[in-house]
Symmetry: C2
Subunit: 230 residues, 2 copies
DNA sequence: CAGTAGCTTAAACGACTGTTCAATCGTTGT
DNA sequence: ACAACGATTGAACAGTCGTTTAAGCTACTG
């Protein structure tokens, strides 16, 4: 995904064309013939190099993940930094971003491995920064790291809706810039003015699923995040 | 999506079968023949009732969205409550949940309309609860509502990864229960121990994109959420 | 009872799909 | 120069897809 045109192996050109198409249109909607046309070769050559369409997908998975994790195989490294690096330059990395976004909602083994690496990276970061006093001690580090990871990648997965919500044609760096401060504000001061919801949930869930939840329950104000269920 | 078997119009049975298949396997991977088999009818009948596979999708979109927004067409209503209601009883609503999750990453007009309704509902809730003093005044209500909406639906969109991260086969009510308190903790106390990141970002972005960002920039600790870009 | 309108089916059509295959081209090694 | 081998192509194959069509079935209306 660097040189714009030739001076690349034909195999690499096909792979790049596939990353582009898979990311832009999705795996099912992309045809071998389409990839071949994008790469300027015949359909048969695509199969010759990758065995099958699924083999092509596997090669793309491997390439994009390696590109994303920066080729250093020490998982749990700087995944968040890599994500930020990509998003800071969304126009050049768009094909890779789109591909990763598709992967994260795909549901195959490669996608699972990628997500696990992201969660591991976030968990490592949480541990380090809690140690350093930058982050509060979360009530549940594991679950917190899991949700922080999901919150971190959801702008990729839902980039269409995010761009529309920001009033943009497509995701762009200035658009994302507008998000930075409000999100840091949320992560710094939280959303709620006090801890009444938290206390209510702790009261209701702390004991074995009991009856009396006379406070957290049917107050008209529901929060927009995952459920509570008395 | 209520009665388990018959006493339903054939058209409704086909529609329910389609919601199930579209949600479980995705639109492209679902065949008209598969929907017909699921509903116990012939493929031709599916087309007879809905005109085309895309017509079937449109009917499913309309049905699921109506079911989700509770049939009250006053958009911006209790969408968060509806979401919580579904997730509190994830096993019975799984087909609808899966379908909505697919919609939100689909990229058609119906999906856009659904997401807009969700954002509108969240924005309304933010306004009300800020008024009531339950929620702090966010720095940017619009962007905050947008991200709160995405954070609210990401457990649906990434339910596979969420379930895996929680150590479950598939999303279940007890699993989600474990998430409640840590998330409320995040929304109550925030993540960071102090406001150094927020202040740094405000310093860097407050003025016109200037040079001097001697603090917020290259500190080794990146946060897992969308980018910052000096 | 006759007739008509809609529900339903089985079979087929045409367009696409991933993949195969034989043949050609270009390069390299000897 | 020749042989050998991988790269590459165009055409073809078999399968699946969405959709069409003609015919049968059911149920209600006159």
């Amino acid at each position: 995904m660097r040189s714009s045109e030739s001076d690349l192996t034909t195999r690499a050109r096909i792979r790049d064309a596939a990353v582009l198409r898979f990311g832009r249109d999705g795996f099912d909607a992309t045809t071998v013939r389409g990839v071949a046309a994008e790469a300027g070769v015949s359909p048969g050559l695509v199969i010759h190099h990758f065995g099958s369409k699924d083999g092509l997908r596997a090669a793309c998975d491997e390439f994009v993940v390696a590109e994303f994790l920066g080729r250093k195989d020490d998982l749990g490294g700087d995944t968040a930094a890599a994500l930020a690096r990509w998003l800071a330059d969304v126009d050049t990395y768009r094909p890779l971003i789109d591909y990763v976004a598709r992967m994260l909602t795909a549901g195959n083994d490669a996608a699972d491995a990628l997500f696990d690496a992201l969660v591991a990276g976030t968990a490592k970061m949480v541990d380090e920064q809690v140690e350093a006093g930058v982050i509060r001690e979360p009530l549940d580090r594991e679950v917190t790291a899991l949700y922080l990871t999901m919150y971190g990648v959801v702008p990729l997965v839902m980039q269409r809706q995010l761009a529309r919500g920001l009033g943009l044609e497509q995701l762009s760096e200035p658009g994302l810039r507008r998000s930075t401060v409000p999100i840091l504000d949320l992560y710094t001061h939280g959303l709620y003015a006090d801890d009444r919801f938290l206390v209510a949930a702790q009261d209701a869930l702390g004991r074995t699923p009991g009856p009396r939840s006379d406070k957290g329950k049917n107050d008209p104000n529901q929060d927009p995040d995952p459920p509570t269920a008395p």
